[in-house]
């Protein structure tokens, strides 16, 4: 009954209720900063690269799908304060190329602030592209309302071409939910460095599917990167753990994850999320193995190590912030790695790190309180 009523109401408006992102590969708009920013070095031989899931400018406000809070909307000062904090960290690291995920340009929950424009005007990044992945006039769930979310690629060098590449949608949702749900896409930007052109990719794969959509998306990204002709860098939130082991291997076998990689029972998982649409699906780290075989990650597996203690410095995600405690009274902290930077095999990274907290690479920004993801950074020695 509610669905029928909603369909009727939706059909009564002349504005599309949602954009089903019906494309395969298409060019998208590019943007330029209005403010004057320092020009970067001509014909660079290396690029400082950053990828960061910016959590729509919410910092550590707990939203309802995380089950630690039930916010669905932010006040304007909350978003502005958060964005200024993030811009401060970006200025500190001062990347040449910055890939942002969960960035919004006109969503009710983030006070309709154009975050692409905000970062352009408040960092030294001079060019940007925005690859929209979720555009709905009104999401009729929890009062979410208007949503315009996507990935963005920022650069200090001119972006001469920008496009987005459609990814598979989930198949485990009813039609109405699927229509109003996020439609993942790979963002690609061609950047003119003067003496050469490189490609940058920003990705963000599905987080809550139980039908193998994320695995399909991860494979598609791998294939797109394999086919890229230009020198490339890819960054984003893969929503998957590093392939330290094979999740399907029997305990005790050489490839077993036992004691080498935590696959479940993270400190920020709340029991009440079980059985809901936002339950954490089982991780399948082996799906990322081709990336480590065929590309060069910013943090190689040898550096990542085995077990929580070794891996902790490179964790990039925690639903629970440091000012909140879980049901056992343990404060939140980075507890898994989901975000990565990759370049082509044979190329190299220097000064790669995860900006988890003040002190990392000399930053002073309060990184754990700026997003539920930590920024992954590295210097790409250009081929």
């Amino acid at each position: 009954m509610r669905s029928t009523l909603f369909i009727f109401l939706v059909l009564s408006g002349c504005e599309w209720a949602w954009d089903d992102q019906n494309f395969t590969r298409e060019e998208v708009p590019r943007y330029r900063a209005h403010a004057e920013h320092p020009a970067p070095a001509d014909n660079p031989v290396r690029l400082k690269v950053m990828t960061w899931n910016v959590k729509y400018g919410a910092c550590r406000v707990d939203f309802w799908f995380d089950f630690w809070g039930d916010r669905t909307q932010l006040a304007q000062p909350e978003v502005e304060k958060c964005l200024h904090g993030m811009a401060g960290l970006i200025r500190e690291y001062n990347p040449d190329v910055f890939m942002a995920e969960e960035i919004e340009v006109g969503s009710k929950r983030s006070a309709y602030i154009d975050m692409v424009r905000f970062f352009l005007e408040n960092t030294d990044l001079r060019y940007a592209m925005y690859g929209e992945t979720w555009d709905a006039s009104y999401v009729p769930s929890e009062g979410v309302g208007r949503i315009d979310l996507g990935n963005a690629i920022f650069s200090r060098y001119p972006i001469v071409k920008a496009e987005r590449i459609k990814q598979d949608d989930r198949t485990d949702q009813d039609g109405i939910t699927r229509a109003f749900y996020i439609h993942r896409a790979i963002s690609r930007a061609e950047i003119d460095l003067g003496d050469r052109r490189v490609a940058a990719f920003a990705v963000h794969t599905e987080a809550y599917d139980f039908d193998g959509t994320k695995q399909k998306q991860i494979k598609q990204i791998h294939d797109v990167l394999q086919e890229e002709a230009l020198p490339w860098v890819a960054g984003g939130d893969w929503n998957e753990l590093p392939p330290v082991c094979d999740e399907s291997a029997e305990p005790g076998s050489p490839d077993s994850c036992e004691g080498r990689l935590r696959l479940s029972e993270f400190l920020d998982e709340r029991a009440s999320a079980k059985g809901t649409a936002y339950e954490q699906p089982p991780y399948t780290p082996s799906v990322l193995k081709p990336y480590y075989d065929d590309f060069t990650p910013s943090i190689p597996l040898a550096r990542y190590g085995e077990g929580d203690d070794a891996q902790r410095p490179y964790f990039t995600h925690s639903v629970l912030g440091p000012d909140s405690v879980n049901d056992e009274g343990v404060a939140g902290w980075w507890n898994r790695t989901l975000d990565y930077l990759f370049i082509r095999r044979g190329e190299s990274w220097t000064d790669a790190d995860v900006l988890q907290e003040p002190g990392r690479l000399g930053i002073t920004s309060d990184a754990p309180r700026l997003s539920d993801h930590a920024a992954v950074v590295g210097t790409w020695e250009l081929p």
Partner: protein, 290 residues
């Protein structure tokens, strides 16, 4: 601009002898006159100049009542004002909290991990409606009204800002604290069975206000324009037209609306239909029903 097409079926217990009376005018029924519809309000005139109305469809989830007082009205044997002008004052009271709470999880958060909720509130309404006759059966109506929210405790619900104009207007007063309307409508009769109505309205809502979480403000909600303009075109047809009696008269109406941000509708107390309400001119020729 956005367009809203609304279809609704209406039923009434009475019929007019002449063309169907215009709806949503300043007409107040004579004593003991009544009307009832599924989507139109239940009305009963306790006096030649006073009637009460409620919308049965919404009453049990959003209790409300509206009173209408005829200030200028043509009486039997009395003077008829120029153009048959009649002026009616309206006042109403709405308690929308229950209906809004039913929409939690959809239009509003479910707030499953906190005590936040849609707050208790009362929404009084006052308004003035003036109608005049043109040609034989046409009616021109102007309306001005205002709704205010009287909070009765903490409230965490925020404005919808949907792209659905009716929803935004419907919830404007409970969620922004104010809704004012200035509107005009022209209702033309095409024979006995069809009426065409054109209507324009300008609405002014309250501000977006602050976002309240756990009883405290966390800052201002992003402002959007408080102005909403709507245009509306509708028709009313009569399928069968018996004289007074039980609910055997059926009519159907269809309408199309356009709005800059939204389209018409009203809060539950504002939706008036004069389905069985003869115009002042018609009332002299129509039987009294009820």
């Amino acid at each position: 601009m956005r367009t809203v097409i609304m279809l609704s079926a209406l039923c009434a217990t009475v019929a007019a002898a002449e063309p169907r009376p215009a709806r949503d005018t300043a007409d107040v029924g004579d004593r003991n006159a009544w009307s009832f519809g599924i989507f139109n309000p239940l009305r009963y005139a306790f006096h030649d100049r006073f009637e009460l109305q409620v919308s049965p469809l919404f009453f049990f989830v959003a209790p409300h009542i509206d009173a209408r007082f005829a200030i200028l009205k043509e009486t039997k044997g009395g003077n008829r004002y120029p153009f048959g002008v009649r002026l009616t004052a309206e006042a109403g009271l709405l308690y929308p909290t229950l209906a809004m709470r039913l929409a939690k999880g959809f239009l509003f958060p479910a707030w499953e991990t906190s005590q936040n909720d849609v707050g208790h509130m009362l929404v009084p309404r006052v308004g003035l409606v003036v109608s005049g006759d043109f040609f034989k059966y046409d009616v021109l109506t102007f309306r001005i009204d205002a709704l205010l929210r009287i909070p009765m405790g903490p409230n965490s619900a925020t404005p919808l800002n949907s792209f659905l104009a009716p929803l935004d207007i419907l919830f404007a007063a409970p969620l922004t604290g104010f809704l004012g309307r200035l509107g005009g409508a022209y209702d033309h009769a095409f024979g006995d069975h069809l009426r065409l109505r054109g209507e324009v309205n300008v609405y002014l809502t309250g501000t977006q206000g602050n976002l309240h979480v756990d009883g405290r403000s966390v800052g201002a909600i992003a402002e959007i324009s408080p102005w909403i303009a709507t245009a509306h075109l509708g028709r009313t047809t009569t399928a069968a037209r018996p004289r007074c009696g039980p609910a055997t008269t059926a009519s159907a109406s269809a309408s199309a609306s356009a709005a800059t941000t939204s389209s018409p509708p009203s809060t539950s107390s504002g939706q008036a239909s004069n389905q069985a309400r003869p115009t002042a001119r018609n009332s002299m020729a129509s039987p009294r029903c009820g």
